[in-house]
Symmetry: C2
Subunit: 331 residues, 2 copies
């Protein structure tokens, strides 16, 4: 496997809407049915009717539990008895560790040195074995390959896995069932698992809904990939505050990006911080910088038209508070 | 009316469990059905199974919408066509303004000068007319009496009103329906509306559940009242960070305190700040200092025994972020 992941794969291994529906059926008993929250003051501020799907209140504090558990519940017969393994900047690692714990499995995770302390603590608390590596996808994949060679385990890739993508789409499917007439549905894009799954859910459940990915301008590979028509990659670990979005888009997710996503927007770092603060003030919810990118695009007036219904999947809420003095200070 | 409220009233004007049930029936279509959230890491920290009922996600960001709307929906025939009026440190004012707005009524509110800016902004946004007054219950009641003399309006007291108390109890009733086997249910106590309503709900729906009020040590009138058997009052406006708990307990609520509440605990200011911070970190929820008092008692090990189920009504989430640098800094 190249450090950028496979360039091609069996087309049948890209999930479809039916896979998202089946995943929700499989996962529902294990999930927090996360609330969809509203704020009249925030609506007034941005001139839209905004619906936030609170995956920061999901097990592990992020949507990642959906995809990780979907993969664990569908592992092949050959993997029974093996640990599960992955590399992740944090949220997928914690999610896989929790999913493994729920099923009585061991879990091995490679975590880069630039992961936030709170995310690392969550992985430790869930009982996973951990190896650290330098930042960047190449180093992560190399460290995991070494470990897998020494100790066989069942790989659950953080985003380029059909089971993971289908699982991530279940958050949007729940949102669309609860709020059927969204004009726009926006989610952050890093490796693209959430965006790919969300696009599948929207195309199947609400075909008229526009699907938008948002990423930091400092990690704009998905926007560039959509423009150029080929997968562009990020070099190293971009210095964005959105630590969950430092990955290049995966192959399957690039296929779904081209097939089902209307647009990818980019936002600046200062807008990310301002969005976190406004969500805390208006919704009383702590969201992580990776979640705030979509809110930032909304505040810029770039999601939907005035008066329209805009949905956002708040992807997670894992933040190191001691690094967040800006939460209490106007930016 | 004395500035401390009436010493006696018609006993039939103290609400009962049936009034709470009727209130929930009346209010349900108007309310956010707020989530009950869990955190495995927080459970591990305090050695209890903790259930937080998130009234910080209620309309107006506090449980106060329940009682205010219940009063508005039950106003007497003589009040039809009149504005509604109250005094409040903020959350009840915003709640009554929102309830009036929902029913197309004018709303007059007296707000003390020490109210937080975010709470004041919410009242303004909901279209109420406002008069400011010095801090302390006596000044608030005097200012409101002046205004009522000049412009007749239907008074909805922030806590010493049977309709308000019954409405506030609906949050606990929802929680007890969702989590039937709580060993302890704890709520903050200021004027005592939430505690009175909660005690009624628990006695009716879950008689074995222990009901505990928690207040700042700097505003400990309910604890002193329970000990002495008579209503003790706070002088002036106590300098607690918990701005919603600076009121002395109301007459009806004192009756309910003696009749249905097991215990009132007090907590220090530093414990309130630490509790706010821990809830933000573990639950990704912003709670106001007045809500944090109950969490602080839990963290002190004073609510329930290890392994027991403890419920807390998180009363609100209205915080001035620029005053909250401590949220990002260890205390």
């Amino acid at each position: 496997m190249s450090s950028f992941g496979p360039e091609t794969a069996d087309a049948s291994d890209v999930p479809d809407f039916a896979a998202v529906v089946a995943a929700l059926d499989r996962l529902a008993p294990w999930l927090v049915r996360t609330p969809v929250v509203r704020s009249t003051s925030f609506d007034a501020l941005c001139g839209r009717r905004v619906y936030l799907k609170c995956e920061n209140l999901q097990h592990g504090g992020a949507f990642k539990y959906r995809g990780a558990l979907n993969a664990v519940l569908q592992r092949p017969a050959a993997a029974v008895g093996l640990p599960v393994a992955t590399h992740s900047s944090g949220n997928h690692a914690a999610a896989l560790a929790l999913a493994a714990q729920a099923r009585g499995l061991a879990c091995h995770v490679v975590i880069p040195e630039d992961a936030t302390a709170s995310k690392l603590a969550a992985v430790v608390a869930a009982g996973a074995r951990i190896r650290r590596c330098p930042p960047g996808l190449a180093a992560r994949e190399a460290a995991l390959a070494d470990w897998l060679a020494a100790e066989p385990a069942h790989l659950v890739h953080p985003f380029d896995d059909a089971r993971v993508i289908a699982g991530q789409g279940t958050a949007a499917l729940e949102l669309l069932c609860e709020v059927p007439e969204l004009a726009v549905l926006a989610v952050p894009v890093g490796g693209g698992g959430l965006l790919g799954g969300t696009a599948l859910a929207a195309r199947g459940a609400s075909p008229g809904c526009r699907v938008v990915g948002v990423e930091p301008a400092l990690a704009d590979d998905a926007a560039r990939s959509l423009r150029s028509g080929r997968r562009e990659r990020l070099e190293g670990s971009p210095p964005t505050l959105a630590d969950g979005l430092r990955s290049s888009i995966g192959w399957r997710n690039f296929v779904l990006l081209q097939r089902c996503v209307d647009e990818v927007l980019t936002v600046e770092e200062t807008a990310i911080v301002a969005a976190m603060r406004l969500v805390l003030q208006h919704y009383r919810l702590l969201i992580e910088p990776s979640s705030a990118v979509a809110v930032a695009a909304l505040l810029d007036g770039r999601l939907g038209r005035p008066g329209e219904r805009v949905g956002i999947v708040i992807s997670g809420g894992n933040v190191d508070l001691q690094q967040c003095r800006y939460l209490a200070a106007p930016v």
